[in-house]
Every structure is written in C-alpha cells, then in structure tokens.
Symmetry: C2
Subunit: 511 residues, 2 copies
C-alpha cells in the first residue's frame, strides 16, 4: 500500500486532490474505477475519482470540517492502494464555504454569512480566447455579480458560430465554414460531419473549466454550471443514455469538490424534446448519489417550467414565461414551490434583434427590484450589438450596460437587511412591500418599492408607540436620503419619479 | 289639435326639439306623460318627452334620414295634442352621425367615416366653475380626444370634496364643511344631513349637462355618459328602484337624442354591491326600450368585469385588473367577448399618491399603442398634483402631461389605416403585429410595434413578388422615416430605442 503525501495548506471548503499514475490499457475513461474514502471526526465521505489523461488518475475532496482528515484510495485503476492524511485549517478571508438554502426561500454560505444572489449569464465565456477570458474575469472582479451561469458544452447559436477553444471529447467537429447567420439554424445535434468518441473525454477541456471555476471562486462568484443544453451542432446534446451518464459522472467527479459549483441540469431543457422526464430524473439521481456535498441543483426552462416541486430541486431557476411579467410573479412562484426563486432569465439589457435581449437598463433594474422586494433573485445578462460580435451574454468581455452599477447598489441594500432575505408582506395594491424573512414577531424593517409608479407622497402608520427611521431610496440614481425619525401616522414626500423606494426601520429602544 | 312650427335648419342626426306648456298640478315629473311619434319615409320612432320645469314639457328627436319628417305629440301633460312637420337636410361638415359598432371590434360613424376612439376621462368637468369648464373645452378643442367619459351625478372622492355647481334633485345637501382629506371616506351615500326629493329633478342641472353635450358634439367629441357611480355622499347612488328607474327614464328622454351620447351604466359598478345584477339588467332593459337610437352601451368595472357577453353590451369598457398588464391583454379580450375593446382605464398619467394615477407619459403612450396594435382602444386620464387641486381626471382644466400630443400622432397613424380598424396577426413572440380588420384576402398593410423592446434591426419576408414601402415610426418622438421600397427578404435597421414601430404597405401594381 502506497502513501500519498500532501503538503499544501488546505482550508476548510478548499479542494484536496489526490493524483497517481494508473493503468492505460483499453479505455481508461470507462475500463477502470478510482474511489476515495475520506474520514474525519464528523464524517466519512466516499467519492469517485476520474481519469485525467496521460496515465494520471485523480480524486478530489472538499473537507467540510477543520482538523485531521484521513483517506484511502482504491479501485481497479491501479494494483496499488493509497492512504494518507492531511490537516484542514480554518477558512481564510473570503472563504465562506458553499452556498446553501436557508429559511425556505433564501441562501446563506455555510459559515452563516448571508448570500444575496446577483447572477449573470455568460454562456460560453470560458471557451473564448485567453484574452477575452481575462477581460471577463476583470469585468467580474469589478462588477456586482456573485453568481455566473455558463455551459460546459460549447454553444451553437446566433452570434455563436465560431469554434470553441477546444472540445470536450476526442474526435473531430463538422466543418463550420459552411455556417452563416442565415443558415445556422439548419444545423443541430444531428448534423453530419462530426466524428467524436463519446467515451473518451478531452481532459484538457475539463481542466480548463476547472481553472475557470477556481478563478471565479477566488472572486467570490458562484459557478452555476449548465451541464446540458440544446444549442448544438456537434451532437453533444444527442448522446445515448450510456454516454450521457458517463458524462454526468465525469463532471461530478471533476467539479463537485469546488465549493462554488451549482448544478444546472440544463438550459432550456424543454428545447430538447428527445430527452424525456425520465432522463432528467435519472441525471438528477446520479447527482444526488455521486455529489456528496449536496451542491445546489436546478434546471432552467424555455417555455414550460420543469416540476420544481421535485425533491432534488433545491431552488427554482426560472425563465420568464411572459413578455411583460417576470419578476412581478415572484410571490406566486414562492407560494407554489416553497423554494428560493431565482429568475435566471428575465430578458437581457441590450439592443439585439431578439426580444429576450433588448430591454433597457432601467427595465432590467426594475425587474431586479420587483424580484428582490418579493423575496426572490433576478438574473442579469447583456446583449449589446458590436462590430466584433462579442456579447456579454455568451462571450463575456466588457460590460457596456447601465444596470451593473445599479445592481451593486441593490446588493448593498440587500446586505443592509437583517436576517437572510426579504419576504413580501400584505400591502396596498399599488406598492411592493417586504420585510425580513423568518423573524419571530416583527423585525421592524420595511422596504416599499414603487416600480414605474410615481407617487408624490405616501402615508404610513405602523403603530403609535415606536419611532421609525425613514429613508427615501432612488434605485436608479443610487442615492439614499435620510428623512428623519417618525412616530404614529406620517407622510413621506416623494419626487414623483419612477423607481423610488422607501426604507423604514424601527428604532429599537435602549435596554 | 295644435300645430308646432319649427323653423330652424335641421341636419340629419341633429336634435329636433318640441316644447309646449303643460300641466303643473301635483308632480309634473311623475304625474303626466308626454310622447312623440316621428315619421319619415324610412322609419316611425316613438320617444318619451320630459318635464323641463316652469310648466314646460319637451320632446326630443334625432332624425336618421333626410327629407320631410312629420310628428305627433300626445300624452296626459296637456289637454291639447300637437302635430307638425319639419325638413331634414343633409349633414353639414363635421357631422358624421352617431358612432356605431363595425366589423365586430371597431367603430364607424353612421356616414361610414372611421372612428378610432382616443378617449379621456374628466369625471365631473361639467360641474366645475364656468371658467374651468371653458378651459376644459379649450383643452379639448386643441387636444387629441374624440371621446370623454364623465358622470351625470356629482362626485365625492379624494380631490373631490367641494360642492358641485348645482344638484340634480330638488332639496338640500349635507353640510360638507365637515369634510377633510383624512375623513372623507367615512361619508357615503348613507350619510345623514341630505334632504332630497328623488321624484323632483332640478331641470337646470340637466339643461346644463345638455349644453355640455352640445359643446362636445360641436368639437366632434363623443360624450360617454356615466349614469351611475359609487363616489357619493348625497345618496344618489342609494335610491330605491322606483327612483332609479325614474332617473334612467329622465336621462334617456333628455340625452338620447344627442348623436354623440354613449351610455355607460356605471363607473366601477362593482363598488356598489347594494345594486344587484338584476338592477343593472333592469337599467339596461330601460335603455334598450326607451332609446330608439341604439346608442352605444357598456358598464365599467373596478375589479370584476361585468358580463360583457350580455346582448345589450355593445362594447367592453374595461378597467385594467393588473398593475402590469392592461392593454397587453386586448387580443384575449377580443377573443373572449367579440366586441370592441375599449380600455377606459389603464392608469392615468400623473404623480398623485394612488397607483392608478401616477404613470409616466411614456408608459401611457406605450399602453395606447399596445391596445391599438391589438385592435383595441385605450383611454387617457391625467392626475398631476397642483396647488389648486385641479386634476384633469376629475375637473378638466388644462392638460400638463406628455401623452396628449403623442395621442394625436397615434390617431393620425390610425386614420392612415385602410378599413375601419386594426386586428392582431400571428407574429413572432417578441413583436406586436397587426393588419387591417375584415379585409378579404391580404390588405398588404402591416404595423409592427416593439413596445419597451429595443431591437437594432428586424428581418421581414412577406413574399418574393410584391414591393413594399417601409417606414420606421418613433411613436414617442412622433416621426416617420421613409425607408424606401423593398421586395423579398429584407432587413429594417432600427435605432435600438424603446417605443419604435415599423409600418409596411404593399405597393399595389398599376392596373
């Protein structure tokens, strides 16, 4: 039995990686197993490893506790078995652990820090040029986002006709020189000319995605991985069940140990009618069985919602079903599913020809506030036309819109909320009102949002006893005006402008 | 038998008025009848007359045809019977006759001229000071509106606490000096202190309303009369069935002959729960029986629609049921009711505290275009705060908003439409598209509206044969840009701004 020594400093919720040479005869991706068992005083976790090419097998593990962790590595990959141990230290600054569901409708990091999701979408940012990826990471570093949705497979779609930087499988793609902006829709996962071995992964492709996940983690950004999607000319969306399952197992073995990973089973799953409900449920079973960390799990629709009440679904990942109402329906969705409502697609800020990609920054911000004040979380995307056909929504790069800085401001307001999230409260029909979720009794915190309505004043009356600090928030201009302390019935004058909010906080009597 | 000579020039669709002294013993409003029978070569019409005070009885009649009209006046009002005749000339300029329903979903004047409704609401403009009424008429003269909704009874509501210029009944009102902006809601139709004789009208009150109807007629504006409403401190909304019916008969006898009258049974009928469906149906029966001109008839909701499928309802008069979607639902309403869809309340441009009265001019115009391009008709209202508490929505006066001039522009676009109205057509999910209603085959007219979406271009393809003239319309900036003639598949570049439309008209080959 061999020992594996690990000398790096390892924080709680970081990734431990075992690596060893193994057998290469036949197909190492399918012919051999590698399994790790990790133990500390609180848990015993069994995880699958994976073949990483060039004779190297790996096992990854994320420790959920500090202290000594021992492990054993077995399987048919090698005639040798391995064991060892390592020390797990307390998490460093910025490491709050994975994000979990809390208070039914919200999220917290495992260390108890609130997590208010401000997501964006850059479908295949990680498959662009090195230069562009660098720009994307720079934009993310300076931007408001703490979650990004992106695909593992490359994307074939309008504005997405170029070859990706590499391919997930060994083999050869169809000749893409035939593609034009006019004819690309004629090509799909059944197109001829592709020649792939769906049982031999390209480890370099996946290693690169891991590097991207790590970069995001270091920026404090959750990686909402879209594992399957329909925008395909290579056939990756049309593999048989055996190859699908092999792919799922490979993804889980490689990615699950990263604390910032979320699983999105698919983008617009309903545009893949050749995948049946039993397929999606089978993938979900694989994740539930093979991901020991219980990463967040969901699936994203085009038209019809997946059944979000399924037990494996940790949160809703919704695409709006109506041109006009999206985030406005958050409270109804909460009622229906009793899970966190993440509205990952409420249309994108931009000016492309498609109606899902040409709303204004103002409308984007309005939708975010509508969602937030109903106790949900909207998602951003950007689709401004440009000469280089580099659109944030798919390629990343630079942000050009008006919404990102306002999202930072919204995030600030959310971070100033006590508790871990907002919940809608009964209010007048013409205001969106919320308070703090899951607080026994009254939190004394109220946030009113007026959307496109432009009242010149509003009257309030909570009780005759307590004093309340009143602030008027211009959600677009990003300013907060202190309106002093009030008691009993009081009037708040407003500027008669769109996108205003009023924040009211009870002043707690000194004890 | 006496003869009644009438020497004025009378146009088709104008009002002929018979007037004679009659009995005054007892209560002339209830104790006597006066009936007119009018005949010409095409029709025989029987109408009720009314008591106009000071011993004078009147009968009004609107001739629908040119030529000689003979009449007989009878009833118990006088021991004398009258007869006579008069000549009806062709209508003068601007007299198109009454508005009728056409092509299921639209309106035309009786002379065949298209009528594209651009309505507004000034609930009690006619009960304000003479000076303010004059201002209102001036605003209407210069404004875009061809329909105005207003109440026959005075209004008690926020911003409506003053006494009206006079009262519809003989008697005395409650002391209104007790009213404040805070307490007014405690007073309603059951308030004490009122002392009215609901069987004795104040003819001067009704004569004044007739003058207002005449003034509107002369401006080419339809008078959408709201006969009942719940905003009441005098008890006019709480009369018994006998007095209600007396009131309905009186209104019909006095107003029906004016060609620009529409009947709105009530505003927010559902805020008068003490009136049952059988009451509304009874009022409708009275109108159908007593109004020989078949004026347009509807009833306006607050929350729940009245059953617009009732045969007596000529068109829907809708108040939006949702903060976010109003005009956007026009096509669904058309489908459901198969009648003209008039959205009389889609929220008003302004900045008052109430959510129904503080949308922007841009949002107002967007809603009008959403309705128009779905083959319906939205309604305007304005509620800007000011020192004098004079709000267009209730008092008339001056218009301050940004929407009226854009409504003029929309009306121009509608008037440039062939046929009598627009109908929605199957289009991409992200565009509102319409063509001409009820044209056999293709009219070759298409209007596309992009609402808050901001496409930088759109592609079109109707056929490979015909040529099409393309125009880009900025519905907010009110300009039309000629983009030349196109054939086959073509692209229209757009400025990536909100509120754009594209008008496409087939060029008819010369014969």
């Amino acid at each position: 039995m061999g020992t594996f020594s690990f000398s790096d400093k390892l924080e709680r919720w970081d990734v431990f990686e075992f690596s060893a040479k193994g057998k290469t005869a036949g197909n190492p991706f399918t012919d051999y197993t590698i399994i790790g068992i990790f133990k500390n005083k609180n848990e015993t976790v069994k995880v699958d490893g994976f073949y990483d090419g060039e004779g190297i097998y790996k096992v990854r593990f994320m420790p959920s506790f500090t202290g000594t962790c021992t492990f054993e590595i077995g399987g048919t990959f090698s005639d040798e078995a391995y064991h060892g141990s390592f020390e797990v230290s307390v998490p460093g600054k910025g490491n709050h652990g994975p994000v979990r569901v809390a208070h039914t409708y919200h999220f917290v990091y495992e260390d108890g820090t609130s997590y208010y999701s401000i997501g964006t979408t850059c479908y295949v940012w990680e498959l662009q040029s090195e230069e562009l990826q660098k720009k994307t990471l720079e934009s993310l570093k300076n931007g408001p986002f703490n979650k990004i949705r992106f695909c593992i497979f490359p994307k074939h779609y309008d504005y997405n006709l170029k070859e990706p930087r590499s391919y997930p499988y060994m083999g050869k793609p169809m000749d893409s020189s035939v593609l034009t902006k006019e004819n690309f829709m004629r090509y799909d996962g059944t197109s001829v000319g592709n020649d792939w071995d769906f049982k031999r992964f390209n480890p370099e492709y996946f290693r690169h995605i891991e590097n991207c996940i790590r970069s995001l983690r270091d920026l404090g950004i959750e990686a909402d991985l879209i594992v399957m999607h329909p925008y395909d000319r290579w056939g990756f969306s049309r593999m048989d069940a055996e190859c699908d399952d092999l792919y799922w197992n490979y993804c889980i073995a490689r990615f699950a140990a990263f604390r910032n990973v979320w699983w999105s089973l698919a983008n617009e799953y309903d545009l893949m009618p050749w995948k049946k409900e039993e397929d999606w449920e089978r993938y979900a079973r694989i994740i539930c069985e093979k991901d020991p960390y219980r990463r967040l799990r969901s699936i994203h629709n085009c038209r019809h919602f997946y059944d979000y009440s399924r037990p494996w679904v940790t949160h809703c990942s919704i695409q709006r079903q109506d041109i006009y109402k999206s985030a406005e329906l958050t409270a109804e969705y909460r009622e229906r599913y009793r899970k966190p409502i993440v509205l990952d697609e409420i249309a994108y800020e931009g000016n492309i020809q498609h109606g899902w990609g040409n709303i204004s920054g103002k409308e984007m911000i309005r939708r975010f506030w509508e969602a937030a004040c109903r106790g949900g979380y909207a998602g951003h995307g950007e689709t401004y036309l440009n000469d280089k056909d580099i659109l944030w929504w798919s390629h990343g790069g630079e942000l050009h819109g008006e919404s990102p800085e306002r999202l930072k401001f919204l995030h600030r307001i959310l971070c100033e909320t006590p508790g871990s999230g907002l919940m809608p409260v009964r209010a007048n029909w013409d205001e969106i009102a919320c308070t703090v979720e899951d607080v026994m009794g009254s939190s004394g915190y109220y946030l009113y949002y007026y959307s496109f309505m432009r009242p010149s004043f509003r009257d309030f009356h909570f009780d005759d006893l307590n004093e309340y600090r009143v602030e008027v928030i211009d959600t677009w201009e990003m300013c907060i005006e202190d309106r002093g302390i009030h008691r009993g019935r009081f009037r708040v004058e407003l500027p008669g402008k769109e996108y205003m909010a009023v924040r009211i906080r009870r002043i707690e009597p000194e004890k």
